[in-house]
Point group: none
Chain length 415, copies 2
């Protein structure tokens, strides 16, 4: 069951509009076990639509088209599809009556070009549009299917599940198959190393497909199984998940879609642990990520961004002689910051960052990307040293991730 | 001069990653006068890449591919392109040495699968990657061109203008045409309102094409002119820019690619003005954005994220009775926070935010999205009230933007 998606519109080809429909449709259909063979965008042109449609239908069982169903002259998708398969255009009187009724209800002046939206290729089944004026249609073409729905994202998002997917499943006898999917999120290993650590797992034998998705600075592993029953699909994925977990354990922060900060939020809330953050090189990013979580005010007491030495001394009580002796970017300063903010805020945990985000400010001993992350939890103060190699923004992001990961390890009692 | 864009990756076909490269490349090339014939995405599969590449090349003069250049087994683009045009893969010793040198510099363990990134189809010209490890290439194929660059957006955004476009222009004799492009960045008006305010400008008569690009929460206007001389192209754009400026003046923060925080950084640095930030609902995001700018330590003295009332009182000297009487989310608290942080940090300016980012925490009087932004500059303390309507993360983002815009207006002496 191969499917292609064809999005239609000049605004896609000149880059004025980013195509968000394709990835939405692809995601929904993949989750249902359909295989997406290709995504394509073409402009509002008869020849282009016709040729691409035939090309795509040659390699798939169904093509889902979006866009070009409006009432204006440059909306030609319906006519282009009719021409492509040598069908006449037929006026659907019930759709026409519905359109006229809608215009009357909203007191819009009826103009005849609107009748265009009631024309469909001969043999097509109309797909209702519950949120707009342009109906879509499904056209059977020699055992295959061509769908056409509007390109307005809000309309696509309704008409795909309500109008397209039921027809697809029925037509291709897929009502019975079950899918289970598991995302495993990791940080701390490059993509190649994640791959290498899982190289000995025979996912095919487990009946599971595996995908690797780098989402800087994280690497996500996605396991998917299809089976005749929901239980069987879940069981296959559970087994594969155990294999992945035993090999990547120290780097995993989430089984599922939760972000690192959401994972932390749950633990901190449940265990009633409070935290304060003292940031230098991350410049507020750690605090901003922690507070991206709704309800974070329960555990996040305060953050300070101490860019100047004076702020480090005044707000965190970092002894000036430590900065003088070891420098603001040092293990000693990082530890004093974490301990200082913990003490000032009276929280369970203090977390700190100091480093050189770049592109300027590096020295031979402490090049750009040198970062110290420290955590004080009352029992001990730990510090980790990193040598990152990205641009300023990515150095900040990966530093904040390292800090949050250090926090997670501390909460989980890992060294 | 027709061009197709082929983005490659299973993550695109299963909808896990939305393809942002296609619209970026399409926009850049359209602005330069190239015609985009089709956009396509395929998975990491030899046959699919080969067939689609031939299909696209049959209807265009050049195909630009992104993605699938990583070191892991599922990254097969280079080999697929080589097979498609029956070229051998040749090791580029200089690229290999560069890779090894990079690994050594960052103390990463070299594994042999990384050498893959130094293999290129015979006859290809290497395209340098200034921000990542995977180099790209341009392969001449019978008078036409196939480009391959990485799919990591930050890398695509550098390598397209620096590595692909110069080759395209040279190869197709477009060096003689001169292009001038001007981005005008605005904040504070919805896209439809920007459009409406510019409706009476006859851009065609000025010889300029105009594009609108929403980049949440900003709206960017891009003016492009082509002419036989650089001066003529620039002159056309300058005239059109004046028309736009006179209509959108209060909302413009940048003529060019500079971000809002970069614009502020230049002014603060030049005028030796220092700033401190006190954040509640933005949770560190204002500080993080200000410190995204290299050299920001010159003007950014400190930031505090005072989520708790105690932190507001201790760190900012906000009188407890103000919080009691008016609430933590109020004009009075916002002003006291801005004045407090300015005084504590001894900076020229204090900037503050307090509000309800949501999704919980709203009341009938102060619904989710209620935000107060205040600025104290020693002469006066101003406060603005907003009612935003987004999700938590976007409420934080638009609040930080409003705060930075208030700062810009203050620096420019606007009310």
């Amino acid at each position: 069951m191969k499917i292609a998606i064809l999005t239609i519109g000049n605004e896609l080809l000149n880059g004025r509009t980013a195509d968000t429909n394709s990835s939405f449709i692809a995601r929904e259909l993949t989750a249902l076990g359909f295989r997406i063979e290709a995504l394509m965008s073409v402009g509002d042109e008869f020849d282009a639509i016709k040729t691409r449609l035939h090309d795509l239908l040659a390699i798939t069982d169904a093509v889902i088209c979006t866009g070009g169903l409006g009432p204006t002259a440059d909306d030609i998708t319906t006519e282009a599809v009719a021409r492509a398969f040598e069908r006449k255009l037929v006026m659907n009187e019930s759709v026409l009556a519905g359109l006229k009724e809608k215009f009357a209800r909203y007191r819009l002046a009826w103009t005849d070009n609107n009748a265009k939206q009631a024309l469909f290729p001969d043999g097509a089944d109309v797909i209702d549009n519950p949120v707009g004026s342009a109906a879509g249609f499904a056209l059977p073409v020699g055992g295959k299917l061509v769908f056409v729905i509007p390109g307005v994202p809000a309309e696509t998002r309704r008409m795909l599940p309500e109008g397209v997917i039921p027809v697809l499943r029925r037509h291709f006898g897929r009502d019975s198959e079950h899918i289970f999917k598991q995302t495993i999120k990791t940080f701390g290993l490059p993509e190649a190393a994640v791959d290498a650590k899982l190289a000995d797992v025979n996912f095919a034998a487990l009946g599971v497909s595996v995908g690797f998705y780098p989402v800087f600075p994280e690497n996500h592993v996605v396991l998917t199984a299809r089976a005749a029953s929901a239980d069987e699909a879940r069981m296959k994925v559970t087994k594969a998940t155990q294999e992945v977990a035993s090999r990547l354990e120290d780097y995993i922060f989430s089984y599922g879609e939760k972000t690192l900060e959401e994972t932390l939020g749950e633990i901190l809330t449940e265990r009633k642990i409070t935290i304060a953050v003292a940031e230098s090189c991350t410049g507020g990013l750690i605090a901003s990520r922690l507070t991206d979580v709704s309800g974070s005010s329960v555990y996040f007491e305060r953050g300070v961004v101490t860019y100047s030495n004076r702020a480090k001394i005044e707000l965190l009580g970092v002894p000036p002689e430590i900065i003088e002796k070891h420098g603001a970017v040092s293990e000693q300063t990082a530890k004093a910051m974490a301990e200082g903010v913990r003490q000032m805020a009276k929280t369970n945990i203090g977390l700190s960052s100091t480093g050189i985000a770049g592109p300027s400010g590096g020295t031979k001993e402490k090049p750009v990307g040198t970062v110290y992350i420290a955590l004080a939890d009352g029992n001990q103060t730990t510090c980790r040293h990193f040598a990152f190699r990205w641009d300023r923004r990515r150095n900040k992001l990966v530093s904040s991730e390292a800090a949050l990961m250090l926090l997670l390890n501390d909460l989980q009692g890992k060294p």
